[in-house]
Amino acid sequence: MLGAALNGSNAFLHERRRSAVEEFERLGFPAPKDESYKYTRIGRLFQGEYAVDADAPPISQSQIDALEVPDLDAHRLVVVNGHFQPEHSRIGSLPPGVIAGGLQDASASHPDVLNRFVSKFTATDADPFEALNTAFVRDGIFIFVPRGKTVEKPFHILNLVSVKSPTLVQPRVVVAAESGAAVSVIESSVAVDSVSPTLNAVSELYADTDAFVDYYRLQLDHKAGTVVTTTNVYQQSTSNARTTTITLGGRVVRNNLRFLPDGEHCETHLMGLVVANGSMHVDNHTSVDHARPNCVSNELYKNILADQSTGVFNGRVLVRQDSQKTQAYQSNRAVVLSDDARMYSKPELEIYADDVMCSHGAATGRIDPESIFYLRSRGLSLEDARKMMLQAFSRDVTDSIRVAPLREYVDQLVRQRL
C-alpha cells in the first residue's frame, strides 16, 4: 500500500513516510486516558472498518461551482478525496517562480523545493494523527512563494470528499513562503455525499524571515463525520503568521494547531470560531511554543454552543527558558445556549522565562441578560436581540478575516445558523 503513492522516486519522502509508519505504530490512536484527548474520546471513532483510499465518483463542475465562496476572486485548487484535480482547478496567472498544484506532481517536478518543507517541523509532543497522515498521504497541495514575491489573490483549496463507503481521507497541504513573501490560503472541506467520511487533514505552513502567511481553515458543512485537522506553523524571525479556524459543521471535529515561532520578533495570531448545534462536538487544541525571545502571540477563540453540542478548548502557551520579552495573550470565550450543551476549557501557561507578559482568560456563560434587556427596551424582539448579541460575539473573530468576500460569507453563514 505504501508504495502506491506519493514518494515515487523521492527518497526523502519515502524515508519520512517509513518513519511515520513506525511512529504511528508506537503511538496508536489516543487511549481513553490520553490527557490531550481528555474531552474528546476520539480513539473509538476509529475503531470501525474503513478504506484508506477510494475511487472518487465523478463530480460535476456545477457541483463544485456551487461550493465556491460568492464573489471570491481566488486561485482555485480542487482536491477530491485527497487527490489534486487539475481539470476542476482554476489556478490563473501567478507571479514568476510561484508553484501551486498537486503534491504528487511537485514531488516529481520540484522534489528539491518540496523536500525543504514537507514534514520538516515535527512537534515536540508527537500526535498520532499527524503521523498517520504522513504515513499514508497520497496527494495534496503544494504552494510555494519564492523570496520577495506577493501573491495578491488568495488561494482557495476546495477539499471535497465524495465516498460511497466509510473511508479515511487524508489530504495534505504544504504552504511555504520564502523570505519576504506573502500568501493567503483558504482551505475549506466539504463532503458531497451522504456517507459521512472520516477526514484526517494535515496542513504545514512555513513563513521564512519577514514572510506573511494568512491561513483560513473552514469546516462549514454538516455532512462531515469525524474530522481531525492538524495545522503546523513554523516561523522564522520577523515573520507574521495568522490562522483562522472556523467550524460550523462536522459531527466530531478536532483541530490541532501547533505554532513554533523559531526566530525573534515573530508575530503569531490564532483566531477561532465555533458555532455548534445538534450533537456536534468541536475540540480546538492549540499550542504555541515560544522558543525564541521577543515574539508576540495573540489568540482568540469563541464558541457558541446550542442544543446538545459540546465545545472544547485547550490552549497551551509554552515560553521556554531565555525567551525573554515574550508577549503571549490568549482568550477563550463561550456562550452556552442550552442546558444540554457543554463547554470544557483548559487554557494553559507554561513559563520558564521571567521578563514576559503572558495572560490568558477564559469565560463561559450565557448572553448578558442586561444587554438583552437594553435591546428589548428599544423595541427588538427577544429573538432579534439574542441574534444581535450572538452575531456581535462572533464578529470579534469574523471581523479579523482579511479577505473581504470570505468575511461576508462566513458572517452570513453564522447569521443563518443563529
Binding site: E35, Q321, D322, Q324, A334, V336, L337, S338, D339, D340, A341, R342, M343, Y344, S345, K346, P347, E348, L349, E350, I351, Y352, A353, D354, D355, V356, M357, C358, S359, H360, G361, A362, A363, T364, G365, R366
Partner: protein, 485 residues
C-alpha cells in the same frame, strides 16, 4: 540591576530557618508496609475492630494500586519514585501520659515551639487559641478543652475521637475523601497515625480559633495526619493549621488527609501555613508533601473557605477542594505559593458545583524564585443541575529570576447554560518601573522587591486570621530575606 540580582540570588539560596531536631525518645515502627504494619499501628493505638477493618480495606486498595504502579504522576513535578517499603509508618513519643496541664509536657517540646515563636503559653494567655499539638503522630498537649466543652464542641486528637465518639467518626470518616479517592489518600487511610477531630454542634459559633501545629520529627518517618471537621447546622468554626519541620537530609513523605463537612448554614474557614523543610539549594532532602484536602458543603447556604500560604516542602502536591452540594453554598480558595531553590509546587483547587445558585472564588498567587517550578492546577466544574452557578478565578504568577518556571493548568467544565465561569491568569516579573518608582523614593532594591511581593500577596494574607496573618507576613519576609539584610 546587580543588587537586584544579588538579592534574588540570596532569596533563592537562603537556607531553611527552622531546621533543628527535637530530641525525644520515640517509639518507632520498623520500616516497611504490610497488613501487619497496619495491624501494628492499630494495636499500638488500641483501636476498635471497625477501625482496623477500615484501615485494612484501605491498605488492600492501596496495595493493588501500588502493584499496578498507579502512582499519580500527572502533576508538573519531577522526583524519583518513592520506595514505600523504606519508610517507617509509625512513630510516637514514648512518654505518653495524657497531660492535664502544660507543665507536664516535655520541656523539649515546649522549647521547640518557643524557638518557632509560637509559644503555647503565650498563645494561651494572649490569644485564647486552643492548640492541639501534634508532635510526630500522637497528641501530647491539648488546651482549652474545658472552655470548648462548655459549648459542646469536640476538639481532640483523632485517637481520642475514635475512643470517645466512635459514632461520629464512623459516620463521617471517608465520607468526603473515601479511601479509594487517590493513591496517597488510600495510603493515609491505611496508616494514618493521628490527627485532629473537630465537631461543632448545631448553632454554635466556636468562640476561638482552633489550631493545630504539625511537626515532622523522627528521621525517616513519614507522617500521615488525618483531620476531620464537622460543622453541624448553623455553626461556625475557624481552623488553623501551621507547619514547620526540622532539617533533614533524607526525603520525608507526608500524605495527609483533611475532610470537612459543612451542614446547613454552617461555615468553616480553614487556614494553613506550610513551611516544611524544602531541601537545600541543590535540591537534596526536603519534604514530599502529598495532601488530599476536601470539604463538602452538604447543606444549603453552607460555606467552606480554604486559605493557604505554602512556602515549604521540596514537593507540594495539594488541591484543597470544595464540593458545593447544598443550594446557595459558597466555596473559596485563597492561596499564596512561594517556591525557591529547587522546590516544586503543583497546587490549586477543585470547585465542584452541584447545587443551585452555588458560587465559588479562586484567587491564587504563585511566586517562583531560583530554579523552582510553581504550578497552579485547578478544576471548576458546573454540573448540569447547578443552575445559576458562578465562579471567578484569578491566578497570578510572579517570577523572581530567569531560571524558574510558573505554570497554570486550569480545567473549566460548564454543563449548563446558566453557569457563569470566568478565569484569568497573568504571569510577569517584578516591574522595572515599580522598582524604579521605589528607588526614586529612597527605597533600596531589596526592600522594594519585598514591598512588591508583599503587595502581590496582600489580598490572600488579609484572608488569614489576624494572628496568623502576622506570622505569614513574617514568614514571607524571612523567605525573601536571604543574603541581603
Amino acid at each position: 540591576m546587580s543588587s537586584e540580582k544579588e538579592f534574588l540570588q540570596g532569596v533563592a539560596d537562603s537556607e531553611y530557618e527552622y531546621g533543628f531536631v527535637t530530641e525525644i525518645d520515640a517509639d518507632t515502627a520498623p520500616r516497611g508496609l504490610s497488613e501487619d504494619t497496619v495491624r501494628l499501628i492499630a494495636s499500638k493505638r488500641n483501636e476498635p475492630d471497625w477501625m482496623v477493618e477500615w484501615r485494612l480495606k484501605a491498605f488492600r486498595h492501596w496495595a493493588s494500586l501500588a502493584e499496578q504502579k498507579a502512582y499519580p504522576r500527572w502533576a508538573h513535578l519531577k522526583y524519583p519514585d518513592i520506595d514505600f517499603q523504606n519508610i517507617s509508618y509509625y512513630s510516637a513519643p514514648n512518654r505518653k501520659p495524657k497531660y492535664n496541664s502544660l507543665d507536664e509536657v516535655d520541656p523539649e517540646v515546649l522549647n521547640t515551639f518557643e524557638r518557632l515563636g509560637i509559644s503555647l503559653t503565650e498563645q494561651k494567655r494572649l490569644m485564647g487559641v486552643a492548640v492541639d499539638v501534634v508532635m510526630d503522630s500522637v497528641s501530647v498537649a491539648t488546651t482549652f478543652k474545658e472552655e470548648l466543652a462548655k459549648h459542646g464542641i469536640i476538639f481532640c486528637s483523632f485517637g481520642e475521637a475514635i475512643e470517645n465518639h466512635p459514632e461520629l467518626v464512623q459516620k463521617y470518616i471517608g465520607s468526603v475523601v473515601p479511601y479509594t479517592d487517590n493513591f496517597y489518600a488510600s495510603l493515609n487511610s491505611a496508616v494514618f497515625s493521628d490527627g485532629s477531630f473537630c465537631y461543632i454542634p448545631p448553632g454554635v459559633r466556636c468562640p476561638m480559633e482552633l489550631s493545630t501545629y504539625f511537626r515532622i520529627n523522627e528521621a525517616g518517618t513519614g507522617q500521615f495526619e488525618r483531620t476531620l471537621i464537622i460543622a453541624d447546622k448553623g455553626s461556625y468554626v475557624s481552623y488553623l493549621e501551621g507547619c514547620t519541620a526540622p532539617m533533614r537530609d533524607e526525603n520525608q513523605l507526608h500524605a495527609a488527609v483533611v475532610e470537612i463537612v459543612a451542614h446547613e448554614d454552617a461555615e468553616v474557614k480553614y487556614s494553613t501555613i506550610q513551611n516544611w523543610y524544602p531541601g537545600n539549594v541543590r535540591g537534596e532532602g526536603g519534604i514530599y508533601n502529598f495532601v488530599t484536602k476536601r470539604g463538602i458543603c452538604d447543606g444549603d447556604r453552607s460555606k467552606i473557605s480554604w486559605t493557604q500560604l505554602e512556602t515549604g516542602s521540596a514537593i507540594t502536591w495539594k488541591y484543597p477542594s470544595v464540593i458545593l452540594k447544598g443550594n446557595d453554598s459558597v466555596g473559596e480558595f485563597y492561596s499564596v505559593a512561594f517556591t525557591k531553590a529547587r522546590q516544586q509546587a503543583d497546587t490549586g483547587t477543585k470547585m465542584i458545583h452541584l447545587g443551585r445558585n452555588t458560587s465559588s472564588t479562586i484567587i491564587s498567587k504563585g511566586i517562583s524564585a531560583g530554579e523552582s517550578n510553581n504550578s497552579y492546577r485547578g478544576l471548576v466544574r458546573i454540573s448540569s443541575k447547578a443552575e445559576n452557578a458562578r465562579n471567578f478565578s484569578q491566578c497570578d504568577s510572579l517570577l523572581l529570576g530567569d531560571r524558574c518556571g510558573a505554570h497554570t493548568f486550569p480545567y473549566i467544565e460548564v454543563n449548563n447554560s446558566s453557569g457563569q465561569v470566568e478565569h484569568e491568569a497573568t504571569t510577569s516579573k517584578v516591574g522595572e518601573d515599580q522598582i524604579f518608582y521605589c528607588n526614586q523614593r529612597g527605597i533600596g532594591e531589596a526592600e522594594a522587591i519585598k514591598l512588591i511581593v508583599n503587595g502581590f500577596c496582600k489580598e490572600i494574607l488579609a484572608e488569614l486570621p489576624m494572628e496568623f496573618a502576622v506570622e505569614a507576613q513574617k514568614l514571607l519576609a524571612i523567605e525573601l530575606e536571604g543574603s541581603v539584610g
